[in-house]
């Protein structure tokens, strides 16, 4: 039975990490009704950040966390004002965001090839110290456990922000109804810009741990990650903050079960899971009824 327990536990670790991978995408959709198709590319940039901090400066990826959070938050604010208000004035922002952010993703990917080259990069997995961790009788690499713990902490921090701070309350008001939020005096643009920055920063933070969980760092890493993030977010339900955690765990556990018992089909899994869940519950696992958005 060791195999099944290993798969379940490893799946949980992966799931907690992948919840963080997808959290920013969900947050941005929830507030702005925008599909950030460049989500994975911000994760890729975050991964390169951690790579260079480690190889040039000798910094542990843990130090990259606060640094990248500030940098990407600062990057997200001007990017928001450059793209989103204009997009929202067009007729169909939700559909057009698909194409707009695909364009942005192309730009980021091309610039990343110029800046970093096409070689695959990695961070040695013993960077945190080499000892594997014992969990309920199974052993896992320390990097996996740290990634999972960090994923859980990230989601928890987001939750505390959304439900415990006044900025978070304003953010949730916009999620529920942007017009009513504006009437009560909330500055929709400013909160949206902040949310956009946080969403992108969360992607970058997830990128710091991607060398241990996703694989080698390379400029075209983003597309696959964006697709998986979509699957996770939709499985949980779009625009639902806790849904990402549920979606991540469902994805992680079923991925590890597939890799253990039917490895060649595991790449197909997130997409089949996504369609199956959408057909049974069109609003995702936590969604209520059929969604109009």
């Amino acid at each position: 039975m060791g195999l099944l327990e290993y798969a379940l536990l490893a799946g949980l670790l992966y799931g907690l990490y992948f919840a963080l991978v997808a959290a920013g995408l969900n947050l941005i959709f929830g507030v702005m009704r925008i599909i950030n198709l460049a989500h994975g590319d911000f994760l890729m940039l975050g991964a390169y950040g951690a790579f260079y901090l480690y190889h040039l400066m000798g910094w542990s990826p843990l130090w990259a966390i606060p640094l990248e959070f500030v940098v990407f938050l600062a990057l997200g604010l001007p990017l928001y004002y450059l793209l989103v208000p204009r997009l929202q004035r067009s007729g169909d922002p939700e559909m057009r965001s698909f194409i707009l952010f695909f364009g942005l993703s192309q730009i980021i990917e091309a610039l990343a090839v110029f800046a970093f080259g096409n070689d695959q990069r990695s961070i040695p997995s013993n960077v945190f110290g080499g000892h594997p961790v014992d969990l309920l009788g199974q052993t896992f690499p320390l990097a996996w456990v740290l990634s999972a713990v960090f994923g859980l902490l990230g989601i928890a921090a987001l939750y505390v922000y959304l439900y415990g701070s006044s900025l978070g309350r304003a953010t949730r008001a916009i999620m529920a109804n942007p017009d009513e939020a504006a009437i009560t005096g909330i500055s929709v643009q400013r909160i949206s810009a902040l949310t956009f920055g946080i969403g992108i920063a969360l992607a970058a933070l997830a990128g710091i741990f991607s060398p241990f969980m996703v694989g080698a760092i390379q400029p075209d890493l983003g597309v696959g990650i964006t697709l998986i993030s979509f699957a996770i977010v939709v499985i949980g339900s779009l625009g639902h903050p806790l849904g990402t955690l549920v979606g991540g765990i469902v994805y992680g556990v079923s991925l590890m079960l597939m890799q253990t018992y039917l490895p060649s089909w595991s790449q197909m899994l997130p997409f089949v899971l996504l369609i199956a869940i959408l057909l049974v519950r069109p609003g995702g696992l936590l969604g209520k009824g059929v969604r109009r958005a």
Binding site: L83, R96, I99, Q106, V113, V223, V272, P282, R291
Partner: protein, 307 residues
């Protein structure tokens, strides 16, 4: 009556005569073939996105289904090639029928689910366990039917069919019904339009066109891999061509493909990063500043003239 259809007939004639004669003066047949293919795909996408408002981000799934359907008909059952192309189109229609439940979803949910469906089909076809049926990741080889000139002619016929279908949908009663559904589904159904049926017809027609194009593409290049015919870039190119030209018009997708696919070949495939960068910037600028495409410029001018 004739006057109403005259512009469409003119577009059909120019497209047909153009692609029939240009090869006499210009020797890069592969480029012309690809341009016709993208024009056909753009019209197919126009039928579902431009006329009904559903954006299938996994449109390439039908293209790949067509390519593999035709290839399997040729290698297993030795069908004559034109019949196999038709079979490829029908495989795409079958895939489209399978996906009709996705119409319960709307907006982004539909686009994402359709993308997921195309990815799932890709991983199904490319799976090493499917080697007996699809050659899995090792690709398809069709030397027995290799005939680029014949395939070129077939693609031209498919393109003309796609243009004609798009023109019919734009000017006919059925097309008006689709437009009504796109603008306001509830009112349209109250006006007696069978929403589900109308949408399904447009959807399957659009899938059929992509399947035919995919089948003929596979035949033309005769050696291909799952990555070739399920490349997400095919969907995205097509969407951008349609948007650039203007969705919901007959001429828009053609002009959009002509200009942008032409530009693609001028900027050069030799330097993919420069191309990718230019392309990304073009998309961003396009969505932000010209959301209804080139065709909207023409229409706006005409509207001001009349006033």
């Amino acid at each position: 009556m004739l006057k109403r259809w005259l512009p469409s007939l003119a577009i059909l004639a120019v497209t047909g005569i153009g692609f029939a004669l240009v090869p006499l003066a210009y020797s890069n047949q592969f480029l012309l073939f690809n341009m016709m293919m993208y024009m056909a795909l753009a019209q197919g996408l126009n039928i579902i996105y431009g006329y009904t408002g559903y954006l299938p981000f996994g449109y390439v799934g039908f293209f790949g289904a067509g390519a593999y359907g035709a290839a399997m008909a040729i290698s297993f059952w030795h069908w004559p090639v034109l019949l196999a192309v038709l079979g490829g189109g029908l495989v795409a229609v079958l895939f489209g029928l399978l996906l009709t439940p996705l119409f319960r979803l709307s907006g982004a949910y539909f686009s994402i689910a359709n993308l997921a469906a195309a990815e799932a089909l890709f991983y199904l076809v490319a799976n090493p366990h499917m080697t007996a049926l699809t050659q899995g990741p090792y690709g398809i080889n069709l030397p027995q039917v290799y005939d680029p000139n014949f395939a070129y002619g077939t693609m031209l016929a498919i393109l003309l069919f796609a243009v004609a279908a798009s023109a019919y949908l734009r000017r006919s009663r059925f097309g008006l019904a689709l437009a009504a559904i796109r603008e306001d589904t509830v009112s349209a159904s109250m006006a007696g339009i069978d929403v589900v049926r109308a949408r399904a017809v447009a959807w399957l027609l659009s899938a059929f066109i992509a399947g035919l194009a995919g089948a003929t593409y596979g035949w033309y290049i005769s050696v291909f891999y799952p990555e070739t015919v399920f490349a997400l870039s095919i969907t995205v190119f097509t969407i951008v061509f349609v948007l650039f030209g203007g969705q919901g018009t007959v001429l828009g997708p053609l002009i959009g493909t002509l200009l942008l696919y032409g530009a693609y070949n001028v900027i050069g495939i030799s330097n993919p990063q420069y191309f990718q960068l230019a392309y990304g910037i073009l998309i961003v600028v396009l969505v932000l500043f010209l959301p209804a495409g080139l065709a909207s410029l023409l229409r706006r001018r005409r509207a001001t003239d009349e006033r």
